[in-house]
């Protein structure tokens, strides 16, 4: 409406304009409120503990700092855990090329290989190994593979992905209490089991050809997972072609601590003993063949296995496996900024 020359803009138009402004402001405020709401309903923190070990995170950051550093990426179980894994003998695994990375497990007489090309889409396998519920976990962003034993109170415990990350690492939740567990730490940072630490066991990062040669009787996890996925495709990069996220570049997500002593994606063998941690560049173990060291009062030996193309760390006193895992340097340091480093 063109204002008539001798009367100025009509009162009605003015009121309309005011109403539009007011309505827009209210709508904008409402949208902002919705967008900045903390969407993940965090279970209430409590001090109750359970079996496993009680600690404060045994790393650089306390549990509250970690809980405050959670970054939401996908919905819960947007990356679905495998709850009904199917295995076949090595001779039937025609979907695996020789150079594909696999994560090998020998436990209680069972020998299993978990291919990276399957785990990259699921990150968690709730498995039963030798009659015991055990969970095998893999976080593609931090290059870490860790197995966990069940808790005494929850012998049938299973895990899923929250869809969120801490220090760019997979944040799991347990289906018994809904507590949140960063994979590398294995200590719950939120929920009823906050402060409880899972007992971890190592898997060996090898290749299909090497693992199968060393363990001809191995079973291997198949792509028959109950989900439709592009197995063989990898959304992050490639280990076989050494490119993409795995090969180079900075982390994609914020980390609490960083250090440029090594390239962020350089693989270190991280060892934990008591409240102390040690990082040994994997290449160093390959070069030297064997590295003897000491950590937190425990004597350790890191050995290179040519046959499996990987490293293993044992306690020298009893020969048992130490608590060790391959990790990208940035991720190890993010959780353990006080880590000792062997160079």
């Amino acid at each position: 409406m063109i204002p008539t020359p001798d009367r100025g803009p009509s009162r009605r138009q003015m009121l309309k304009g005011a109403a539009v402004l007011g309505g827009s402001a209210a709508l904008a405020g409402l949208l902002w409120q919705t967008a900045t709401d903390d969407d993940s309903a965090s279970p209430s923190a409590s001090d109750s503990g359970s079996s496993g070990t009680q600690d404060d995170g045994a790393g650089g950051s306390d549990l509250d700092t970690l809980a405050g550093a959670v970054v939401g990426v996908l919905g819960q179980d947007g990356i679905p855990a495998i709850d009904e894994p199917t295995f076949v003998p090595a001779s039937e695994a025609d979907f695996l090329a020789d150079d594909e990375p696999v994560f090998g497990l020998v436990r209680g007489g069972e020998v299993r290989a978990y291919p990276q090309l399957v785990l990259v889409w699921h990150e968690i396998v709730n498995d039963v190994v030798h009659g015991v519920r055990r969970v095998v976990t893999y976080c593609p962003l931090t290059g870490t593979v860790i197995g966990f034993e069940p808790l005494r109170e929850f012998p049938d415990i299973t895990f899923g992905t929250t869809g969120s990350l801490v220090n760019s690492n997979l944040l799991m939740y347990d289906r018994a209490t809904g507590s949140h567990w960063p994979q590398v730490l294995g200590t719950a940072i939120r929920g009823e089991l906050r402060g409880t630490r899972l007992d971890a066991f190592p898997l060996l990062w090898s290749t299909w050809a090497a693992w199968r040669a060393a363990h001809p009787d191995t079973q291997v996890l198949t792509t028959d997972t109950g989900f439709v996925r592009d197995y063989g495709g990898d959304p992050y990069g490639s280990y076989t072609d050494d490119n993409g996220y795995y090969a180079e570049g900075d982390p994609w997500f914020p980390v609490l601590n960083s250090d440029d002593r090594f390239d962020p994606k350089e693989v270190v063998v991280g060892v934990r003993s008591g409240n102390a941690q040690l990082a040994i560049p994997k290449e160093l173990i390959r070069e030297r063949g064997r590295v003897d060291t000491e950590l937190g009062g425990t004597r350790l030996r890191a050995t290179w296995h040519d046959a499996l193309d990987t490293a293993q760390v044992v306690r020298r006193d009893d020969g048992d496996p130490a608590d060790f895992l391959d990790a990208m340097w940035f991720a190890w340091y993010a959780f353990y900024p006080d880590t000792k480093v062997l160079a």
Binding site: V20, V228, D230
Partner: protein, 234 residues
């Protein structure tokens, strides 16, 4: 002559006028869209643009995948997981229920819900492009790219809402820079894309409405049967 009206009052009244203009444009949009798609050329170009958009959307969310190395040579023809139909992986991203391998190089991970969401975006893009083509046939047409530019943010947002692959295409460095900004906005991307595309349609209508009658685009089935431009006035 206006009495000394306060600039604020004039501004408010201006907003009121703009609101009226927008309401009018919204009412006229279905008519203008119908008018646009009635023309053979705008309709065809619109459909092609919509189809391309749908394909790009499905590729960006990973529902359509191409393997140059032909890694699906040994895959069976179809794989099913029907109970995933309404299971969401991320905002506006749903589980595929079937994998269909078309030869060794092409795979479709079919999610009906993702397809539907993509179709909605594709239809809106088609409508926008048809309007742009239709409106470009005016006597005082501005260069067509300004209208296309208006639709572009909606394209990008449509990808970004559910597309880890889109972000990955930026390269590792790009991802680190962009993800902290994009992630909190994820739940918003798809509705925002819809809003922008609808807004672009209304805006195109508004522009057409404000043209003088002599400058209006020619009626449907332009160009004329003899291939030459229609004569409009006189």
């Amino acid at each position: 002559m206006n009495r000394g009206t306060h600039p604020a009052v004039r501004a408010l009244a201006g907003i009121g006028d703009a609101w009226d203009g927008m309401v009018h444009a919204v009412r006229r949009t279905p008519i203008r869209v119908r008018e646009a798609v009635a023309g053979r050329l705008p309709r065809r170009i619109g459909v092609v643009a919509g189809a391309v958009m749908l394909l790009l959307y499905l590729v960006s969310i990973g529902d359509v995948a191409v393997s140059l190395s032909g890694r699906w040579a040994d895959a069976g023809a179809v794989q099913l997981a029907v109970d995933g139909l309404f299971r969401s992986r991320a905002p506006y991203l749903f589980e595929p229920v079937a994998a269909v391998y078309l030869g060794a190089h092409l795979a479709v991970f079919f999610s009906p819900v993702n397809l539907l969401l993509g179709l909605v975006i594709a239809v809106l893009v088609a409508a926008n492009i048809a309007m742009a083509v239709h409106a470009s046939h005016t006597a005082c047409a501005r260069p067509g790219y300004t209208r296309v530019l208006g639709v572009l943010p909606a394209f990008l947002l449509g990808f970004a809402c559910c597309a880890p692959t889109f972000v990955l295409a930026l390269g590792a460095g790009g991802a680190a820079a962009v993800l902290p900004v994009l992630l909190p906005l994820r739940p918003v991307f798809y509705p925002l894309a819809l809003l922008l595309l609808l807004g672009a349609l209304v805006w195109s209508t508004h522009r057409l409405e404000s043209l003088a009658p002599a400058d209006q685009p020619a009626p449907a089935d332009w160009p004329a049967a003899d291939g030459g431009p229609r004569h409009r006035s006189n």
